[in-house]
Symmetry: C2
Subunit: 360 residues, 2 copies
């Protein structure tokens, strides 16, 4: 959990040493953070475009294996050509005073290496989800950032998205009573040839990529950690796309309070991301829940008129919210709400799901 | 699977002996079947009321532990008071020529005994679901009916309900392409003191009572038998209702074609019964799916206008369809579509789910 301002005030009131050593967060002035975007695939485009409307986000460098592509983007976003790096000379970002942090947008299996190299280069890291492709890699990333005394944030967009935050507050306030059950699903019909279908690059199939939204949502919706994760993993027919990773994963889990959750994810068919929470006094559904925009929240609460709310934001609004949050954490010396430890928890749980599915 | 007329014609064409021994179904005249309703709880009321608008269903006898209640219902439905039996003199139905078959509407754990006693009394049986509370009991019921050369049908309403049949045909015709995933749930907020909360009477909680609809739907929607049934079972808080049976069950299963299914059932909160099937060319959702009336089917198919269909039937229309089906099976010497073997399959699968949930 991230510290709230109030938490920090309490902490500073309690400890004069801390108060003297570091200014309280409310007094810290957030400065723009100068980011280096590592990997120029689709997701990088959202960060680049999002930086235009951000408060504390500047993109000052690019890392890519495709120099031409990087130069084109650099021109569009007014990034000096001198700040374009390759994967080979990436470590030289250490000497670049115009870079405070790296945004790691590479295929999953490269997250660990490029996060660790960034930390060693003295940069903070915002890393895309899934954090890594193994628990060991995730732990190594946390360790490297801790040793370098740099922040590590995992890019869980929904932790910062207003409609998700509203859903979470409604649940915490007991608006639908005691929560009992959750259903969630997310998926899409994947194009052949995507790196996501390559086990070595992706580390797994839809569970790592889209199922993680459902898993993570069940955790922030309940505020609890699940146990008993068990599932099934299949491929329909002999679909040549799924030689290396699974097509579908369905799993269930239970939470300490007694909540049960069912989740499903797929690369085989379109599956509008959603979650549906049922409680003792009503129910709350978000669909689409995990898209870049167009989110919709609906609730039916006993004795109240139906609630319907739609996000009016447009993509890429969710991205600068993440990069600005990291900027605030750097200025206030806070742990990001979606920390490395948060990513590690999902990594452990996904590993448990795969094990229960019998994956080697 | 029930034999279709065409199957029966083929069978009779292939075997002169069978043709001589039994008239082909198409030639058999269906006669009204005279039923004895065993157990006068809520479900019995639906059968009684439904018989008024049936084609081949007559209710001519009642079995109850409450003589007064039975007399009142007998008067309402014009059943001779002489045809009221108690649980003690139930076996005397053997001597009553006005009874062809029994409808067993008792608590789950009594299904086996009263089905077997009916078979031994020379009566056909329509038994409510779940068929029994153990695989052994379910097998004993099948054996007893086979030995007595009597039909055994399990009351799976949805096997005969037009909107379910339409959903199944749409799937078989490939209207939504190849089926990939199914989600289904059903539940309600149970009143304290119900016999369903007594493990000895009910045999289990919501899985036996409402989860069975989801399980059975996944089987008829795919036309396949599932494997890998794994789940979680919980109680929220220290709810005193759930001393003996579970509150929630969530499970997943996989089918030979690669379809995965997620199901959830509860006695803790209202959960409109539904199923949602996703395929390569669209999706199909039925909600409410398992109620006595008001069912709604919606489909979204690539390149077609959205399909929305609502059942205009009113409760108890689903009940005489079951009792009339058994009458046709008796006349045509057919195996009911929802046979004892069908009930036994669900019994085995529910046992597997409970085992995976760690139930003793």
């Amino acid at each position: 959990m991230a510290l709230t301002r109030r938490d920090l005030f309490r902490a500073t009131a309690a400890s004069a040493a801390i108060r003297l050593a570091r200014p309280a967060f409310a007094q810290a002035e957030t400065k723009p953070v100068r980011y280096c975007v590592v990997g120029l695939g689709r997701i990088a485009g959202h960060y680049l475009e999002g930086s235009r409307s951000s408060r504390y986000t500047r993109i000052t460098a690019l890392v890519s294996g495709h120099r031409q592509k990087a130069e084109k983007l650099a021109a569009t976003y007014k990034i000096p050509a001198a700040n374009i790096y390759s994967y080979e000379n990436y470590d030289a970002i250490a000497q670049n005073k115009d870079i405070d942090a790296a945004i790691v947008c590479l295929p999953n299996s490269m997250h660990a290496e490029y996060t660790i190299r960034a930390a060693r280069a003295g940069k903070h890291v915002l890393c895309e989800k899934p954090m890594a492709t193994s628990v060991a890699d995730a732990q190594a990333m946390i360790d490297a950032c801790r040793q370098a005394n740099k922040k590590l944030m995992i890019a869980y967009r929904c932790h910062y998205e207003p409609l998700h935050l509203k859903a979470v507050s409604m649940l915490r306030e007991g608006r639908i009573g005691t929560v009992h059950t959750i259903e969630s699903a997310f998926g899409f019909d994947i194009a052949p040839g995507e790196w996501r279908l390559n086990r070595k690059l992706a580390g797994g199939g839809p569970l790592m990529d889209v199922g993680i939204y459902c898993l993570n949502a069940c955790r922030y919706l309940t505020g609890e950690e699940p146990a008993g994760l068990k599932g099934n993993m299949t491929v329909v027919g002999n679909d040549p796309r799924f030689q290396e990773v699974e097509e579908h994963v369905a799993w269930t889990m239970r939470f300490p309070s007694g909540v049960v959750a069912n989740c499903q994810c797929t690369y085989g068919v379109g599956m509008n991301g959603y979650f549906h929470v049922r409680g003792s006094k009503g129910e709350l559904r978000m669909e689409p829940a995990f898209n870049y925009d167009g989110l919709r929240l609906a609730a039916r609460i006993e004795g109240e008129a139906p609630i319907q709310e739609a996000s009016r934001e447009r993509d890429p609004a969710q991205f600068p919210r993440e990069t600005d949050h990291l900027a605030e954490c750097i200025a206030g010396d806070k742990t990001p709400k979606s920390s490395g430890e948060e990513g590690l928890r999902d990594m452990r749980l996904m590993t448990e799901i795969y094990q229960s599915c019998g994956r080697a």
